[in-house]
């Protein structure tokens, strides 16, 4: 029921929205059809997600918000090919990502993921961590390092390229993880609260950078955040998940033109959307 109305909003909103600049309402990049996920442990079965239907167009930026524990990370891990859905299907560019519990890795190429934890490799320096995806793909050393230094500068870690993860602060580690995900200029970028450990200013700057990069590379982005303002600022659409089990309650199209400047946040329409979403989230309380 919730899913139905969500789909409805999605469709109507989708038609009107400003959307990604190139390719406008492009072809479907990601299709989630009836996705559900159950976790089994000795003590309990948790229904983390249920009946998730969502279509994400190529080049679209989708923000996902929801209460802590509502299944956002679970959803993202399924999209990243790390966790198989219990029910339903995920199509990437029309091809099925999951065959039962097996992932079809050929489907998920040019993928960048920022996890909720930084998950750096302690045996590599900052630059080596950032350049790891390039290395796996076979880029040359000089090229790799140049890109790593460039990205380190981008995330505000210039000068720390040769440091090791244990010498960094929490926020700095998270920024290394972001740089790592960006290194291969991914076509599909999945981000799980990437800016949670950052101060307001760094966060703001990262928001702008992310928007710029997403537009420049025409990347499709799924972006999980707890910051509603951020979600609205960045998203073409904002997906609101309700907890236990996680369902889509609402998909809100954000119709400001892109690229958006920081001042868009002061526009009256912006504040209204944020307030609406916040109220909707507040209602999840009782559940």
């Amino acid at each position: 029921m919730a899913a139905d109305s969500a789909e409805m909003v999605e469709r109507t909103a989708g038609a009107r929205q400003a959307g990604p600049p190139e390719g406008a309402s492009g072809p479907a990049k990601l299709e989630l059809i009836g996705i559900g996920k159950e976790f089994h442990t000795k003590r309990a079965h948790t229904q983390a997600l249920s009946g998730i239907d969502l279509t994400i167009r190529d080049g679209e930026f989708v923000s996902v918000i929801g209460r802590s524990g509502c299944g956002k990370t679970t959803l993202l891990r399924m999209l990243a090919g790390l966790l198989s859905p219990s029910t339903g299907q995920i199509l990437i560019e029309g091809r099925s990502l999951w065959n039962g519990a097996r992932v079809d890795t050929s489907v998920v190429s040019q993928l960048g993921v920022v996890f909720q934890e930084a998950n750096l490799f302690p045996w590599y320096s900052v630059a080596e961590n950032i350049a790891l995806p390039l290395r796996l793909r076979g880029d040359g050393k000089a090229e790799r390092l140049a890109r790593a230094y460039e990205l380190a500068e981008l995330v505000g870690l210039g000068g720390f390229e040769r440091s090791y993860p244990r010498e960094l602060s929490g926020g700095m580690r998270q920024r290394v993880a972001i740089a790592r995900a960006l290194s291969i200029r991914p076509k599909l970028l999945l981000m799980d609260e990437p800016f949670g450990a950052l101060d307001a200013l760094t966060r703001e700057r990262m928001n702008l950078e992310l928007q710029r990069i997403a537009l420049a590379t025409a990347a499709t982005v799924v972006f999980i955040t707890h910051d509603i303002t951020e979600a609205v600022f960045l998203g073409d659409r904002v997906v609101h998940l309700t907890p236990r089990p996680g369902r889509i309650r609402q998909v809100k199209a954000i119709e400001f033109d892109r690229p958006r400047g920081i001042d868009v946040q002061t526009e009256p329409g912006f504040g209204a959307i944020v307030r609406d979403l916040r109220h909707a989230l507040d209602e999840d309380e009782g559940r």
Binding site: L111, E117, Y164
Partner: protein, 265 residues
């Protein structure tokens, strides 16, 4: 700074000190309990004999043989232990089926296999190398298995999300994060490899320090016996510290190496 330097110097001070204490206790024990020269000769006698043994060039040939056998066996164990450990660590059902065989192969008394070894490999070094390899294999293999399974799931997901090949996951993640385990296994393994070689040399052939032990034993030459044992221990220590040095070289990032220096400031 100076604390770190003093820590580096410590073994060079403490080891000789402990050795002196050890020899003093040994001498004391021999004197107080009036232990027969045959059972345990005093350190002075042994050292005298040690000088003789060391100046005999034949001894060095024996030592070289033992070292060669041990190192060869150890390397075989290392390569096969890592390979098998990785595979079994990642394929639990295979491990479940093969484990009984592997454990059995370890507990089987090797003395019964010696004739088979001799038939297959002759009296030369090969059978000792295999003996060393068989003993060293198990701890390395088990530790690698543990290591492969202890890889941080979050880091593993990073590799999976990067669509890495099995080999890439192995070299960039599993190998690196298993290293500390491999080295712990190697430290046990090198010691077992020496034990294996020595046992092999006891049981057949006429080369190596193990053979020298048997010979001095047969000659009832207690001082030479203990001198040979000291030589063997020194060889064992050398090999062990080579492995240990490799560890410091290869996994400087690991706690067990860089230690608790950051813990307290």
């Amino acid at each position: 700074m100076s604390r770190e330097r003093s820590r580096k110097l410590l073994p060079w001070v403490s080891t000789p000190l402990i050795l002196v204490v050890f020899f003093a206790l040994w001498e004391l024990f021999v004197r107080v309990y009036d232990v027969s020269e045959l059972v345990l000769p005093g350190p002075a006698t042994v050292l005298e004999s040690l000088v003789q043994v060391v100046t005999d060039p034949a001894t060095w040939d024996h030592a070289r043989v033992t070292a060669t056998e041990t190192i060869a066996g150890f390397l075989i164990a290392l390569v096969s232990g890592v390979a098998v450990g990785v595979v079994l660590g990642k394929v639990p059902w295979l491990e479940l089926s093969l484990r009984p065989m592997i454990v059995a192969s370890q507990v089987v008394p090797k003395v019964a296999l010696i004739p088979l070894f001799v038939i297959w490999f002759g009296f030369g070094m090969t059978s000792k190398v295999i003996m060393a390899a068989m003993l060293a294999f198990f701890p390395i293999m088990l530790n690698v298995q543990l290591g492969v399974r202890s890889v941080d799931p979050g880091q593993r997901e990073v590799m999976r999300s990067l669509n890495s090949t099995r080999w890439q996951t192995f070299t960039h993640l599993e190998l690196k994060s298993t290293m500390p385990y491999v080295f712990a296994g190697m430290e046990v393994g090198i010691v077992l490899a020496i034990i294996g070689t020595i046992v092999g040399e006891y049981l057949g052939g006429n080369e190596g320090l193990g053979y020298l032990v048997v010979r001095t034993l047969n000659e009832l030459n207690a001082p030479a016996l203990f001198a040979t044992i000291i030589l063997l221990s020194v060889l064992g220590l050398l090999l062990y510290f080579v492995v240990n040095g490799l560890k410091r070289f290869f996994i400087p990032w690991h706690e067990s190496v860089y230690g608790q220096q950051d813990a307290n400031g």
